[in-house]
């Protein structure tokens, strides 16, 4: 367990400021550093650096009573700003940098309830020491022109984190988390991944998303581990960071795991590698294990943070095929058991005793999950229910491990993004010549995730090739949502009800492949 925090129960109510001062002064962590390849800072420098940010923001009229939006990058300046906002118990929204060209759909307007927007300036120098890092050089502050104070009183509202759901491309729901709950969830992750201040953690996934933040960055900070942050990583950048940093723990995506298997030598091993965002194929985990060390699947969401993960010490087959067991305090249940559990009955002991795996929709009761959904004006849309419907289908084994089979609805996971087929259809319908479009998926895995095909019917008299439609998709869809193939059909098969017969279409598309 953690060398610094040693499992003390007082930790549970410890403010983040205390955590920062502990990791900054403990002999185990004070000389550990945070790096992004350019800027490096040691834990012992954190108090001074965070105070400098505080001074700078106060000069600009920003205090802990303001609600700010941070467009966070995987950089030391980004990490420092993020730690500052947590330490001073701001309520703040985390957003991807608007410079992320490829993720067009992430570029939604700033929520109206955020008074200021903080953006990070790239550091141009090859390598600079944190001592010469002044907030004025890396942090840009803009007042939000669309700012509208919330209608309800917010003076007392502190220590909240706002995240957009990674859900469909169209919806604008914002998830509200209490900082304390996030830290509790992060401690859960520290325990499951067995992180300590002896670890060197490379974070190759964005820290503005729940995965990178809640399962990677915050746990690594709490453990006092050395941290390497990678922005917009790819194979070349990853290998370069790795040669320098020599990580013992890595937070990856399934696509990165796959790339490392193709191109990385086996000379260095990890104590633990974590993947999340989409299901990893069992054969990838087995191959990774053999060459690079234990790889675990993490399961979670923007709403709940880390939910379930195998431990690096779990047996290979458990890690290869399941998301392990739920983190401390978390209950995962088949939809059918939820009413009984709500009524206070014991989790279905008879079903476990029957020793037969069950498959059902996955529901989660999380002690550290989100509080509520709000809209861009800070109005509550819906408070979190006791049980969160994940929308995933899962197989529950008698040993308590859980295997995710895929989405229960018409959506797919691509590049770690949840994509609703209906959202892609809506986008392609905007192409003038397209009269009707149905997007479908098969269980086949392509490089960006589950296979996507768009079947289009054109308006009479229009001429457009499948290739031309796909080219237009590059302008109207984010990269991860572009169908792998486009088919132009004379008409779509229908069911007696008149609805499109998706199964028949899937068969038809399959026949084209054969």
């Amino acid at each position: 367990m953690n060398q610094i925090l040693s499992g003390n129960m007082d930790v549970m109510i410890m403010a983040f400021a205390t955590i920062i001062s502990q990791v900054a002064s403990s002999i185990h962590s004070q000389n550990n550093f945070l790096t992004d390849g350019r800027v490096t800072c040691r834990y012992q420098q954190l108090p001074t650096l965070l105070t400098a940010i505080d001074r700078y923001l106060r000069e600009q009229g920003i205090t802990g009573a303001s609600c700010v939006a941070l467009e966070c990058t995987n950089s030391v300046p980004g990490a420092l700003t993020l730690l500052y906002l947590f330490e001073r118990q701001y309520r703040f929204m985390l957003l991807p940098p608007t410079s992320d060209k490829e993720k067009l759909t992430d570029r939604k307007p700033l929520p109206a309830f955020c008074q200021y927007q903080l953006t990070l300036q790239p550091i141009s120098d090859r390598e600079i020491s944190a001592d010469s890092l002044h907030p004025a050089t890396f942090l840009t502050i803009n007042a939000n022109e669309q700012y509208q104070a919330e209608s309800h009183a917010t003076e007392q509202l502190r220590a909240k984190l706002y995240l957009r759901t990674s859900g469909s491309m169209g919806s604008a729901k914002i998830v509200v988390h209490a900082h304390e709950q996030l830290f509790a969830n992060a401690r859960n992750a520290v325990a499951r991944f067995q992180l300590t201040s002896a670890d060197r953690v490379t974070i190759a996934v964005p820290i503005f998303h729940m995965y990178g933040l809640g399962a990677g960055f915050l746990p690594a900070i709490i453990a006092g581990a050395a941290i390497d942050l990678q922005e917009h990583t790819h194979l070349l950048k990853y290998l370069e960071h790795e040669r320098q940093f020599k990580p013992t723990a890595a937070f990856l995506t399934p696509a990165l795991c796959d790339m490392l298997l193709q191109r990385r030598g086996g000379a260095r091993t990890y104590r633990v590698a974590v993947s999340a965002g989409a299901r990893l194929k069992a054969e990838i985990i087995r191959a990774f294990d053999e060459r690079f060390g234990p790889l675990v699947n993490l399961y979670g969401s923007s709403e709940l943070g880390a939910v379930s993960a195998a431990a690096p010490t779990d047996a290979l087959e458990l890690r290869a095929t399941t998301i392990g067991r739920p983190l401390a305090g978390v209950t995962l249940a088949p939809a059918a058991d939820v009413p009984a559990l709500d009524a206070g009955e014991k989790p279905d002991a008879s079903a476990s005793a029957a020793a037969a795996p069950r498959t059902d929709e996955l529901y989660c009761r999380h002690p550290y999950g989100f509080e509520t959904y709000i809209d861009d004006y800070g109005q509550e849309i819906a408070a979190a229910a006791t049980w969160f419907k994940t929308g995933d289908l899962a197989t529950f084994s008698p040993d308590g491990s859980i295997r995710i089979l895929g989405r229960a609805d018409n959506s797919v996971n691509r590049d770690g993004y949840l994509v609703l087929l209906a959202d892609i259809e809506r986008a392609i319908e905007q192409i003038a010549a397209v009269a009707q479009v149905v997007v479908l998926t098969t269980p086949d895995e392509r490089e960006r995730g589950q296979y996507l095909a768009a079947c289009c019917v054109l308006h009479p008299g229009t001429q457009l090739t499948a290739m031309q439609i796909r080219t237009q998709c590059f302008d109207i869809l984010p990269r991860y949502a572009i169908p792998d193939e486009i088919f132009i059909l004379d008409l779509l098969p229908t069911l007696p009800s008149g609805k499109v017969d998706r199964q028949a279409l899937i068969t038809q598309v399959g026949a084209i492949h054969d």
Partner: protein, 88 residues
């Protein structure tokens, strides 16, 4: 030699890579990543493989660094040097 290698690389990007970049938008000094062509991690993997297939050599792991992949000029220089040295 370098010029023709650059042209070959431009063609690979425009015609063989699934990225929707027009050949006219690719200059010898255009950065390949975010600030230039914006190749993402999947495109870069595919590009590496296509270079190997088109030029008939394999990258060693220690050759997979950012250095040669700055732009097509640096990449063409790397490819040319690689082709001059007999493969062992």
């Amino acid at each position: 030699m370098i010029e023709s290698t650059i042209d070959q690389l431009r063609q690979i990007i425009a015609e063989q890579l699934d990225v929707n970049i027009r050949i006219d938008d690719i200059q010898a000094d255009t950065p390949l990543f975010e600030e230039g062509l914006g190749l993402d991690s999947i495109a870069i993997m595919a590009f590496i493989t296509l270079i190997e297939e088109n030029f008939g050599f394999q990258f060693a792991e220690d050759e997979l660094t950012m250095e040669p992949f700055q732009n097509l000029t640096t990449l063409a220089q790397f490819v040319s040097a690689k082709l001059e040295v007999p493969q062992n």
